[in-house]
């Protein structure tokens, strides 16, 4: 029987990157493997899926209806993966990215799971961008057929072009993979699903003249507001928007309430109101 794996997440989170690494690592370990990427017409955003099968025998057909390993990285993809969960499925999800309410809706379906706070681990110890590699590390511990060495080699091979420009990425991705694998080994399963609590980000900032509001559910982190600000009051904050990219934050001592950021925002994610 082939191991059937489905990985789902937001476009831009690195779903297809980890899927490619997994596929190549399986090939390197001498397995038969099939990989079917599936995403919408948009180049960024939208739910992105990857169907993967790993087997020691030939694989006749790349699609499947129930998966052995269901990996999900974002709240929006929870709805999509619902149909792929069977009683034997192991659900691996990012508990620092997915809202508790969304994952709890799948309570009836999920029998076995690993809740990985990958985004928190990544942003505290490494960099938010390697959250997907941590998830891959957790997945690698479940796939006993593929050696960990092959995973390590393939990560470096797949990211070789990026490592050439930024050499520090080599160490970063390597430790992310190891952290993920260690997390899986030390993981003690609990019986309730955990997730992100809603609306922890601050939305509104005020001074005596202006109220400045941001909308994390619309913001895509394009940084046009930062460039348009004539007094340089806006910078990137540490908190993230729905795409997992940084959100702008305003220094209300500098803000003059001109509304340039509001006008240039292509997503309607900033509102400036004069009092």
């Amino acid at each position: 029987m082939p191991a059937k794996i489905i990985i789902a997440g937001e476009g831009g989170q690195g779903v297809q990157t980890i899927a490619k690494i997994l596929t190549k690592a399986a090939k390197k370990s001498g397995k038969n493997v099939s990989y079917l990427p599936s995403f919408g017409v948009e180049q960024r955003g939208g739910v992105s899926l990857a169907y993967i099968q790993v087997s020691s025998r030939p694989i006749p057909y790349p699609r499947f209806s129930k998966a052995d390993f269901v990996v999900t990285l974002s709240s929006r993809s929870c709805e999509t993966i619902k149909n792929f969960i069977s009683d034997n499925s192991l659900v691996i999800y990012d508990s620092a990215e997915i809202y508790e309410k969304d994952i709890n809706e799948l309570k009836a379906e999920i029998k076995r799971f690993v809740a990985v706070p990958a985004k928190n681990i990544a942003s505290e110890k490494l960099s938010t961008k390697v959250a997907n590699i941590i998830i891959l590390g957790v997945l690698s511990a479940q796939l006993k057929d593929i050696s960990f060495q092959d995973f390590q080699d393939t990560v470096l091979m797949e990211l070789a072009a990026k490592i050439k420009i930024k050499p520090e990425l080599k160490e970063l991705n390597n430790s992310a993979l190891q952290m993920g694998a260690e997390f899986a080994q030390n993981y003690e399963s609990s019986d309730h699903l955990t997730g992100k609590s809603p609306d922890e980000t601050v939305r509104s900032f005020e001074n005596d003249k202006v109220k400045w509001t941001r909308f994390p559910e619309y913001c895509k982190g394009c940084s046009l507001c930062i460039l348009s600000c004539p007094v340089k009051a806006i910078t990137f904050a540490k908190d993230l928007n729905f795409l997992g990219t940084p959100m702008p934050i305003v220094d209300m001592e500098k803000c003059i309430g001109c509304g340039k950021c509001m006008q240039i925002c292509p997503d309607g994610a900033i509102n400036v109101e004069k009092k």
Partner: protein
């Protein structure tokens, strides 16, 4: 939740965040269009058609009747709609691929016949949805996936100047202009004029909006702004090429 004044009333709430990439100039142009529709209060009688390419991502953008067609056919579709129902306000929204390449004949003939519709064309200097191939609007020397050494004008010609071309053949009542998505005031004024021209029933209205494509240009936000505001406006001058006296 705080009220969002930066969200046009004619935009559909349930389909947001919209599907455009971060920093896309097209969504900025559509926000301006949404605000102009709000200001003119024409949402209930407007019909909106989007072409194929990145512009098809707007098929659920507005709380307005919407049609999606292929390769520049938005123009004849909207002409047909206008003929059948003259009280409707018809907006044909397309990209430079649909309007200037595959579907160019529709745009040219609509301008020649002086059909009373509003056509809005986004110029981002490449075929963005398919991955950044060379378009008729790609600048000379600009790199694209099908022109890895930059556009060679001796082999494939020079960039097309749509509004200038249409102004040559359009008739007196036409409104033809070019604007840029990041100049909000200018962009809104020209969209408003283009729609007002149709409401007044003078004739064909066309605006080209210069846009940004950070993903396919491989630029960050600052470089995208620089490229669209400095490089592109050098080749594609902003302005009104044909404007009825009553609108000016």
């Amino acid at each position: 939740m705080a009220e969002n004044n930066n969200f046009p009333k004619s935009w559909k709430k349930s389909s947001k965040p919209h599907k455009f990439c971060p920093g896309c100039g097209q969504s900025l142009a559509l926000k301006n269009l949404g605000f102009v529709i709000d200001e003119l209060q024409i949402a209930d009688k407007t019909v909106y058609a989007c072409d194929i390419g990145c512009s098809l991502l707007t098929w659920d953008m507005f709380e307005i009747d919407t049609i999606q067609t292929h390769h520049g056919r938005v123009v004849p579709t909207m002409v047909g709609f206008k003929l059948a129902k003259p009280s409707a306000i018809t907006i044909a929204f397309m990209g430079d691929g649909g309007g200037y390449a595959i579907g160019a004949q529709h745009l040219i003939n609509a301008a020649m016949r002086d059909d009373p519709i509003t056509a809005i064309l986004i110029n981002n200097a490449n075929y963005a949805m398919t991955g950044g191939q060379m378009a008729p609007t790609t600048l000379v020397g600009q790199k694209a996936t099908t022109a890895p050494n930059g556009r060679d004008w001796q082999k494939v010609g020079k960039p097309i100047h749509g509004p200038e071309m249409l102004a040559e053949i359009a008739q007196e009542g036409s409104y033809i202009a070019r604007t840029i998505s990041t100049d909000i005031a200018d962009c809104k004024t020209k969209i408003r004029k283009a729609l007002q021209n149709q409401i007044d029933g003078r004739g064909f209205s066309f605006i080209e909006i210069i846009s940004m494509c950070p993903v396919n240009w491989h630029t960050d936000a600052l470089q995208s702004l620089d490229f669209s505001e400095k490089e592109m406006t050098k080749v594609y001058p902003l302005g009104e090429f044909k404007c009825p006296q009553k609108l000016a």
